[in-house]
Symmetry: C2
Subunit: 297 residues, 2 copies
Amino acid sequence: MEISAYLDRQKKRVDRALESLFEKELSREYSRLAEGIRYSLLAGGKRIRPVLALAAIEALGGDSESLVPLVLPLELIHTYSLVHDDLPAMDNDDLRRGRPTNHVVYGEAPAILAGDALLTHAFTLLSDPVYDKVATDSRRMEVVYELSVASGLCGMVGGQFLDIVSEGKALTLPELENLHCHKTGALLRASVRIGGLLSGATPVQMEALTRYGEAIGIAFQIADDLLDVLGTVEELGKAAQKDAGKNKNTYPGLVGIDGSRRLAEEKCKEAHEAVAILGQKGEPLALIASYIIERRN
Amino acid sequence: MEISAYLDRQKKRVDRALESLFEKELSREYSRLAEGIRYSLLAGGKRIRPVLALAAIEALGGDSESLVPLVLPLELIHTYSLVHDDLPAMDNDDLRRGRPTNHVVYGEAPAILAGDALLTHAFTLLSDPVYDKVATDSRRMEVVYELSVASGLCGMVGGQFLDIVSEGKALTLPELENLHCHKTGALLRASVRIGGLLSGATPVQMEALTRYGEAIGIAFQIADDLLDVLGTVEELGKAAQKDAGKNKNTYPGLVGIDGSRRLAEEKCKEAHEAVAILGQKGEPLALIASYIIERRN
């Protein structure tokens, strides 16, 4: 199996579904805000979170076709976090995926509101009665809980906060791991678990998906840090080495480049072992773990 | 029945329940963010949205005691909207309820994150499995949908956007009504409807609650505009006449003070008529409508 072709196919399914969001709002009196939302939502990206959810669904034999709309909230949450993260008061980034950031194009207030609308719409999608035949209320309620906990104060938002207050301070490895476990790990873990919830995973399967999700969460962040140190502007579509420029704590900074690579490979191995119990159908999940530590952008 | 005593009693129930939120996070590594969230959440205020929901629940004979946690999300959403609205990039307000605004005390980035966390936690509360005996998954799912639609792009967030782009522009009365129908009306309407959803309202009762909610939404905004024109800093706990100072569109500006009062009374009468079918138990809702147009802060 060719993982890049697999990822590309899954990404396209997600992209097509995302295209239809906020479309009818383009003809409303707040069309400019809908445009701003779509500017960031449809800016490309690997769609790794919804793709992970789809891979988990397929690993458990779930109907990934009908469930596509219910994994989009993961991408909405991820996109809102990028829009707010890029704001002048936060990371103050002008460039994202090779394009000017949302607030640069639409202004700061509309960017704050675009983020708020994306976050809110994640829960509209999950609760929309049009999907009540696709997944029961109970399952969708579990997804609402999983997603909101992972992205709230005790998850992503808490991690963003830790990131901000850690700037310029030297963190220990456990502190850095805790930061990333919240900032990026929580939503990646939730992505896989939401796939499990939507396809009725057994407790044992859920446990395997959770271990997998936690391992790739750390691997993902290490790979990101390595890319930032080793990558170029062309490859990344954003300013490289900006983390070091801001005195941000990174894995290479703490354990060196070779140490970071070893740690990423360890986590990748953990991820492989976790999904081994899913058999042949779990292969894409294993391959995604390898892809994550080998990716170039 | 004395409406101010009633409102005070209901507000205290809501306040007590809000006090317990984000409490254990005060001992976590992101305690400062939890403090910031509680600073705005526990800053007082009339708690009119959850109180409306409780009044609707009681009007339909629902168990308002056990349902208190499930009406708190309305106050979380309202509070997040104030925190984001006060930001320098938005309304740039330094004072709210007689105290410095969130970003003045905690900084801009933490204020953005506090708003994001409050918004997200609204959905954590609604989906928390500890409440699955209090209301069925189906009912809570309807509440998630009602709340997210009312507060998203086609509701409150869209209204905030219209408010921002309307500054300095002269609106017509229908345009002003549309703005407020989104910005404040949608969440007030949802407050009453959520009370209905949580207590299993019949379609006829739901229709009555909806008409009531729409009428008080407009009455509330007119009263707010009148207070801004006629009130003093002492009464409001915030800068008075700031709307006029910013060339904001208001009801008194468009139809005069007397015209605004007449319109508010009309809406109040509509609200009374709507809840008449609920009988004696609907009396608090009727009295709240009268209170809204007579309040002094």
